[in-house]
């Protein structure tokens, strides 16, 4: 009787080999499962992305519709009306704020002029919206009057700025030779040109504010509104 080699041999039997052959089939199944899953997932993703794209597109169309609606609501003519009115109003306010009263300037000059002093001519020039430049040809009765007038003009730096006295000269008598002898040089008329600036804000309209121009801080009894003299009209 032959010995049972299959049980004693250390070589694996065939049955074990058959069991190993089942592994490739399982891998194929896993691969197929993964592949099917991916296909399914891709189809699902395609459908979801398609639907979401349609959704976002519809939102976009809605937004475009709303934007067009807002644009159609916007009125260029209304904007023009409002803008032009606002511009006109701003310009009017600007002119009112930068208005200067020449009559108030004359009042201020009158209050700052000593009575014996005569203003022969007056020139006023407005320099933008900053100040009014005044140039006055003034005749004083003496050097003392001229000095006092200069003091008055320089007394209120808020009203008169950059005061400049120039072209000072003594006017000799023209009638007779006797007057030269009888009148000393210190008592002869002195002419000079006064140049000064008056800020626009210091010249308010009388209708807007009380017509009380800023008076000089240095005043005395001789300060009054000029009156006409015999042969000259004072300003």
């Amino acid at each position: 009787m032959p010995p049972n080699t299959s049980q004693s041999s250390f070589i694996p039997k065939r049955g074990a080999t058959r069991a190993k052959r089942r592994k490739p089939a399982k891998q194929i199944f896993v691969f197929a499962l993964v592949a099917y899953s991916m296909v399914f997932a891709s189809l699902l993703a395609s459908g979801a992305s398609y639907l979401y794209k349609n959704y976002t597109t519809s939102i976009l169309q809605t937004e475009v519709g709303l934007l067009n609606s807002e644009i159609s609501t916007f009125s260029v003519s209304d904007l023009s009306v409002v803008s032009e009115f606002d511009l006109t109003l701003q310009r009017a306010v600007d002119r009112i704020n930068n208005s200067a009263s020449v009559a108030s300037a004359l009042d201020a000059i009158a209050l700052s002029t000593a009575q014996p002093v005569k203003i022969e001519s007056l020139l006023m020039e407005r320099s933008g919206d900053d100040y009014v430049l005044l140039t006055a040809d003034i005749t004083a009765q003496s050097f003392d009057s001229a000095l006092f007038q200069r003091k008055l003009l320089s007394a209120d730096p808020q009203l008169f700025t950059e005061v400049l006295i120039e072209d000072v000269s003594v006017v000799g008598p023209v009638d007779t030779e006797q007057q030269i002898v009888s009148r000393p040089l210190t008592n002869q008329p002195v002419t000079f040109t006064a140049t000064m600036q008056m800020p626009i804000e210091s010249l308010p309209y009388s209708g807007m504010q009380p017509a009380t121009p800023t008076t000089p801080s240095v005043q005395n009894d001789t300060l009054s509104i000029p009156v006409a003299t015999d042969n000259q009209t004072e300003l």
Partner: protein
């Protein structure tokens, strides 16, 4: 698997990209719509405020800052003031535009740019004679006019007989505006 990859590469990925672009567009459109909504709301408020202004006030403003110069009417008004003040008018001439500055309002200009531009000024030369009080009254009446008649130059001289000759340059303003639309 290849089909899945192909679907993902050729359809899903471009679709997602398109969705991203669409979402960006939505954000842009929403932002712009909100801006226009804000502007429309502001404009509606401004229109409401504008309509609340009385017609008389609008007419006063239009008189104070007219759109066009009417030199004949202005000279007539100055003549009325001359008569009221009792001075003698010897010369009155329209000198034209003193400063050629016309505001151009376009949609590219900001509000501050064109609002800084001053109105166009027109000047008149007026020579009057009268007493000091009459001349001053004339100047006061000019200030009470319904539109600005600013004295930009004034020369006062005396003739030695209680009469003053005042030579002045009067300036008034016109709100000339050229509306330019980019649409």
């Amino acid at each position: 698997m290849v089909i899945a990859l192909a679907i993902g590469y050729f359809y899903v990925q471009p679709t997602i990209s398109e969705i991203g672009v669409i979402q960006d567009d939505i954000a842009i459109y929403t932002n712009e719509r909100l801006k226009i909504e804000t502007i429309n709301t502001q404009l509606a408020n401004e229109i409401s405020a504008f309509e609340s202004i009385s017609r008389a006030d609008k007419e006063r403003l239009a008189t104070y800052m007219p759109r066009f110069i009417d030199d004949i009417s202005i000279m007539r008004d100055i003549s009325f003031i001359v008569e009221t003040a009792g001075v003698t008018n010897t010369t009155m001439t329209y000198e034209g535009v003193a400063e050629a500055q016309t505001a151009v309002f376009s949609q590219t200009n900001s509000q501050s740019e064109f609002s800084d531009q001053p109105p166009t000024s027109h000047s008149f030369t007026v020579v009057i004679e009268g007493t000091y009080e009459e001349v001053k009254l004339f100047l006061r009446l000019l200030e009470q006019n319904e539109y600005p008649l600013e004295v930009h130059e004034l020369s006062m001289t005396t003739d030695g007989f209680n009469l003053i000759t005042a030579n002045m340059k009067l300036v008034t303003y016109v709100d000339e505006l050229v509306l330019v639309s980019n649409n």
